[in-house]
Amino acid sequence: MSVNLKMFLKKTIIGPSILINGRLSGEEDLTVRGRVEGEVALSRRLIVDKTGIVKANVSVKHAIISGVVVGNITATDCVELTPGGRMVGDIAAPRVIIVEGASFRGRVHMGDAQTLREARERLGTKPAATSQTSASARFSSSSSLSPISRPPSVPRLILRSTPIPLTQKPIPRPLNTMANVPPSPPSPPEDIPPTDALPMDDDDEFSGDKPLPPEPPAFMEANQKKVVLKKKK
């Protein structure tokens, strides 16, 4: 009977014409193709399809956004914005992926770098060439790695030892951003939950846990005025 089959799929779909206004919670994947407003609390994945609009504060394990989200997301694992995904709000999650073609405005809080790296180390995961998202992100970014082609007559870099005023005003934003941005809920969890505490039932592989780059020796600091920029031929 088709009813039983649907039960086994354990998946909730909000169709394109449906509007839900209120609080939605659950322990299964939720796909939104219509509109959900209010509050969403899920222990698994939220998938906002192209036609989907979520105007809500969301707490979830993993969010994949191809549609529109306005509101704050707290995810215990990951928030992904795919091409076409649009979001305005704050994200608190140990992993955040924004690919080419996605747009986002808001704060991102992944948490302490050391804690994150240790958590990823514990999982023993490697930079995920297997992850489709990461692969496509890498592909799109690789184009930016090739130097901008320009004629050899382009002015050389000027190096000055003392700060000079820029022709334009310096970016009028505080250096330490997270401490200074106006508060807006939800306050990101200080202790990013252990990401391996949850069942690894979907694409949970972490990536990018390369060791910290070695600190360059500091012996040159005293002579910094004599530093010459090398030119690679």
Binding site: I53, V68, V70, R86, R95, V96, I97, I98, E100, S103, F104, R105, G106, R107, V108, L116, A128, S134, A137, R138, S140, S141, S144, L145, P147, I148, S149, V154, P155, R156, L157, I158, L159, R160, S161, T162, P163, I164, L166, P170, I171, R173, P174, L175, T177, M178, V181, F206, S207, G208, D209, K210, P213, P216, M220, V227, L229, K230, K232, K233
Partner: protein, 114 residues
């Protein structure tokens, strides 16, 4: 192809404090503290560490950056990057594995009825 392109490089082991400005591309393998204002492409390699407000056309981060970033075209925060600060650019990409804390400002086109 990379060999034939003239690129400015701040090598590993070099630290620069102060203000950097210019029109060429720059690759940072060492450390920069202060202010960076470039017309073209800034690349921070995995060994590179930049503690500065950065203004550039394009920015590729494989290493560490802290400070505010203003790019006229694109910012790529790659898998090995560790970045904190506020970023403003028309296109911003964060790869899986990158660590970023701060704010992002892109132009987000929302439906009218939201």
């Amino acid at each position: 192809m990379l060999q034939n392109e003239p690129i400015n490089i701040i090598r590993k082991g070099i630290t620069i404090r102060g203000s950097l400005s210019g029109g060429g591309d720059l690759v940072v393998e060492g450390q920069v503290e202060g202010l960076v204002d470039l017309k073209n492409h800034l690349t921070i390699e995995t060994t590179g560490k930049v503690q500065a407000d950065i203004r550039a056309e394009q920015l590729t981060i494989n290493g560490e950056a802290s400070g505010n970033i203003d790019a006229s075209s694109r910012v790529a925060i790659n898998a090995s990057a560790l970045v904190s600060g506020d970023i403003r650019a028309p296109r911003i990409v964060i790869e899986n594995g990158a660590i970023f804390n701060g704010s992002i400002e892109m132009d987000v086109k929302l439906p009218d009825d939201i």
